[in-house]
């Protein structure tokens, strides 16, 4: 085994490490940039849309962990999001509007549900898992409709107060936007660290080939179970933000159409990239707003744009961006 070969490997690992730091920095820089927008004279409604987009981004990233990285296709990802929304919203209205407390409560509720459900659901894979996840979400939808004493049925949970952080009320607008940017950035960074960790790589192995993964000593079910629970928990963070932003929620937040939307955002942006879902969420929100204003056949336009993007850009919008990014990277080193 030659010394230059060893040296080559050392260098390879160094560049690997450098790239990791670079990406982490990129995420932080992006968050800072976003946080500056309100002070750069961006229109207040654009900020509103961005807030919504970032909340969706959190949700889409959580789906990316499950579908993009672990290969568990889900049609019922509204469950975690909507559940978090209801739990946080109800707690905030009835007990205290403290954001952290509400978030914790939401997470507790989600865990208490996702742990047992996940334990059963992850025994399936592929289409069966997709359909079962859909079924689970629809059952939650029905519960939200029927459990009127808590959810107020189809009228929805209304009158959720503004959140407070350390006793200070966060007004929806710039303040709430900054909070969202902070959380979205943290989630993105955290997920990024997760997917490059040994755990993350293991998920990749499971995605590519479950038998093989098992054969090299990976406890496939345990991993899928953990991912399922984490993914719901992160979705719940988004749901909590959303319920505060909209000051309420309705069972429709658990409906399969919502699950479809988030799946579309993630795939449209590019699965397995974390970055893609963010792009997907942002473009989804802005596209929908643009198309549904004074444009009555927006569905037609939406469909056309959608089909074209999928046909012309494989691996989603992020595919393009990341390719450019890689080129730049190569150019640098």
């Amino acid at each position: 085994m030659t010394t230059e070969a060893l040296a080559g490997r050392a260098i390879a690992m160094k560049t690997e490490a450098r790239r990791r730091q670079a990406t982490a920095l990129l995420i932080v820089a992006g968050a800072v940039l976003l946080a500056l927008l309100p002070f750069a004279g961006v229109r207040s409604f654009t900020i509103t849309l961005l807030t919504e987009a970032l909340i969706f981004a959190i949700w889409a990233m959580s789906l990316d962990l499950m579908t993009g990285y672990t290969g568990m296709l889900t049609f019922g990802h509204a469950a975690g999001f909507g559940l978090g929304g209801y739990a946080a919203g109800y707690f905030a209205r009835e007990v205290t509007a403290d954001f952290v407390a509400s978030l914790l409560v939401a997470e507790l509720v989600i865990l208490s549900v996702a742990v047992p459900i996940g334990f059963v659901a992850i025994r399936l894979s592929g289409a069966a898992f997709a359909i079962v996840s859909l079924c689970i979400a629809q059952v939650f939808f029905q519960i939200a409709v029927a459990w009127r004493s808590v959810t107020e049925g189809m009228d929805g949970l209304v009158g959720v107060p503004l959140p407070t952080v350390l006793g200070r009320t966060i007004n929806v607008g710039t303040e709430f936007y900054l909070l969202t940017v902070l959380i979205a950035g943290a989630v993105c960074l955290g997920l990024r660290q997760l997917v490059i960790s040994p755990f993350g790589r293991t998920l990749g192995a499971i995605r590519v080939n479950e038998d093989r993964a098992a054969a090299i000593g990976i406890n496939v079910r345990l991993h899928k179970w953990l991912v399922f629970v984490m993914s719901w928990a992160i979705a719940g963070v988004g749901g909590t933000l959303m319920v505060f932003m909209k000051a309420g929620t309705t069972p429709m937040s658990l409906y399969w159409i919502e699950s479809g939307n988030v799946l579309i955002m993630a795939i449209f942006g590019g699965l397995g990239t974390l970055f893609g879902p963010v792009v997907g969420a942002v473009s989804f929100v802005f596209l929908r707003d643009a198309l549904t204003t004074g444009f009555e056949v927006w569905q037609l336009a939406f469909g056309v744009v959608f089909v074209i993007v999928v046909l012309v850009f494989p691996s989603g919008l992020a595919g393009i961006v990341s390719r450019v990014w890689m080129l730049l990277w190569r150019a640098r080193s």
Partner: protein, 252 residues
């Protein structure tokens, strides 16, 4: 000392079909033990039962004196058993080194570790490189596994298994679809591997089997019809007319 792998009265049904019927096996340390038989004899089923991919209907699998019957695959790996697949199942979109490093990391028990640490990555990488060096695959370390030549894929398959540092290695037709040259290469490898771990081998290439095996078990219709050294087995009249005849006609 006790044999690392002992199989007693192993049976498995698929519906009405009794695919494996009371199979007994003993793989001794440092031995290459071959399992041969015509297609549909149940060899792969035996493999899947031993390696935890199928739950045997009956019988015992004993690994290093431990009863591991119907353990899930990942526990078996931890207990020192690894396998390769008949159809190549490398991780397509990863590089060769990542493929092996995955296994190495798994062996280091790092699967569940959720934050990246350089020094573990290094540890795993080094182990992986050692394996690749041993199998002479380090040149392609950076290549995408999916783009390897078929022969190299088969070697990678073995490399992944070896990175798990198994006491017992199950190899399912490692030479499937390989050129004579490649077959020799594999044969040589197997002998080298046998020095550190016992091998149970399913193989069609009689030449090679007779060449490298210390012990051979012959199966037909899910039953063991003969066990012994290459010479005894190849001279065994039952085996002759039940099986070897056809094979000779087929291969030679």
């Amino acid at each position: 000392m006790a044999s690392p792998l002992v199989v007693r009265d192993l049976s498995k049904n698929f519906g009405a079909l009794r695919a494996v019927d009371g199979v007994n096996l003993e793989v001794r340390d440092g031995h290459v033990h071959s399992l041969i038989g015509p297609n549909g004899a149940g060899k792969t089923t035996v493999f899947n039962c031993i390696s935890g991919f199928l739950r045997p209907a009956d019988g015992q699998v004993i690994l290093n004196g431990l009863d591991v019957t119907a353990w899930p695959p990942h526990r078996l790996v931890a207990a020192g058993l690894a396998r390769t697949f008949q159809i190549t199942k490398v991780f397509g979109d990863l590089t060769v080194i990542e493929n092996v490093a995955l296994a190495a990391r798994s062996r280091l028990g790092r699967n569940l570790q959720m934050c990246h640490r350089a020094q573990i990555a290094v540890e795993a990488q080094d182990r992986a490189y050692d394996v690749l060096d041993m199998l002479g695959l380090s040149a392609q370390a950076g290549a995408n596994a999916a783009h390897l030549a078929h022969g190299d894929k088969r070697i990678l398959e073995i490399a992944i298994a070896l990175a798990l540092q198994p006491r017992v290695l199950l190899m399912d037709e490692p030479t499937a679809g390989m050129s004579p040259g490649g077959t020799e290469r594999i044969g040589a490898l197997i002998c080298r591997i046998a020095q550190c771990s016992a091998i149970l081998l399913v193989e069609h290439d009689m030449e090679m089997v007779l060449g490298i095996s210390d012990e051979i078990t012959v199966m037909t219709q899910g039953r063991v019809i003969a066990t012994g050294t290459p010479d005894t087995v190849s001279s065994d009249p039952i085996v002759q007319d039940a099986y070897l005849g056809q094979i000779d006609a087929g291969t030679l």
